[in-house]
């Protein structure tokens, strides 16, 4: 058991970045499934704003995934293929009841991703380990992604507020 938030090896860092990739893949996959899952009557009401949000979320997750994969490449490791995660999401997926449910799920996605990157950055900063990937580039990439997740949380919150 390791007490205290700290990333102390390349292996540990690689694993956390791989988890980040999977989280992004889950967001991408769930966003795509949400669009398809709504019953026709809900879909008719499913305004362009929410659909655009989900399309953007999926695209942003794909972008984040690529940036994480570039870091993982430098650590000479591999990631789990999107198709594999998509199949796992699909197998366990229970569609939300309505559009509000979709928005809540999307908010949970963005908040979870933000928390993950925030904790990861804190744990890297608390460590003086010299990683195989450049520390400045690592922290810069993760900070940019964290910022985009924060904006994502705000965007979903705003949509939820003006729909209420």
């Amino acid at each position: 058991m390791s007490l205290g938030q700290r990333v102390s090896s390349d292996n540990q860092l690689t694993r956390l970045l791989q988890i980040g990739v999977v989280l992004e893949e889950v967001v991408e996959s769930r966003a795509a499934l949400h669009i398809d899952s709504l019953p026709p009557e809900e879909r008719a009401e499913f305004d362009a704003e929410v659909e655009e949000l989900l399309v953007e979320a999926a695209a942003e997750s794909a972008d984040h995934r690529e940036r994480l994969e570039a870091l993982i490449d430098d650590l000479e490791a591999e990631t789990v293929e999107y198709e594999e995660i998509n199949a796992l999401v699909d197998a366990q997926y229970g569609p939300p009841e309505d559009t509000d449910g979709v928005l809540y799920d999307q908010l949970a996605n963005e908040e979870t991703a933000y928390k993950f990157y925030d904790d990861l950055i804190t744990a890297i900063e608390a460590s003086d380990t010299e990683f195989a990937v450049d520390r400045d580039r690592l922290l810069e990439t993760l900070s940019e992604i964290r910022e985009e997740e924060k904006e994502g949380v705000q965007e979903v919150t705003e949509i939820m507020e003006h729909r209420a």
């Binding site: 390791s2 205290g4 938030q5 694993r15 989280l23 995660i85």
Partner: protein, 142 residues
């Protein structure tokens, strides 16, 4: 998972291993910290009414402590199962221990959406083997 939750989980597992209160020595071994650190943290958890400590016997979880320990163990099970079955990490026990302090409950909840976890989780966790007794390990190398 924060340090308090890691302690509560360790007390829960130690109580199961020892079939009674968790001794300081067992907790120090499980957490890989000094007995003095254990005593200090157990004191703090007692102040928060999560643990009852009896001199010369050891620590026992209160009902509230048990509930939190249960949740913490469930989070840990998700991490182990995710590492073993999704990332196919051979050394998943060691890696889960190294990662648990950096993985938040909310992150574990998301990872839980893609793993197949038994309904009785975490009661099926084997404290001696340090993993779920129902966990099927793919056996593929890391």
């Amino acid at each position: 998972m924060n340090t308090a939750d890691q302690y509560l989980k360790a007390i829960y597992l130690a109580q199961r291993i020892e079939d009674g209160p968790a001794s300081t020595g067992t907790l120090a071994d499980l957490l890989d910290v000094s007995p003095a650190s254990v005593n200090e943290m157990v004191g703090k958890l007692q102040d928060r009414e999560l643990v009852e400590h009896e001199k010369y016997k050891g620590a026992s979880l209160t009902d509230e402590g048990l509930e939190r320990a249960h949740d913490a163990l469930q989070t840990y099970c998700i991490i182990e199962r995710f590492l073993a079955n999704v990332l196919e990490v051979e050394e998943f026990r060691e890696e889960a221990r190294a990662l648990e302090s950096v993985i938040d409950d909310t992150v574990a909840e998301r990872l839980d959406t893609i793993i197949d976890r038994p309904e009785q989780c975490p009661d099926c966790f084997d404290p001696e083997a340090d993993h779920c007794e129902l966990l099927e390990i793919s056996g593929r190398a890391d």
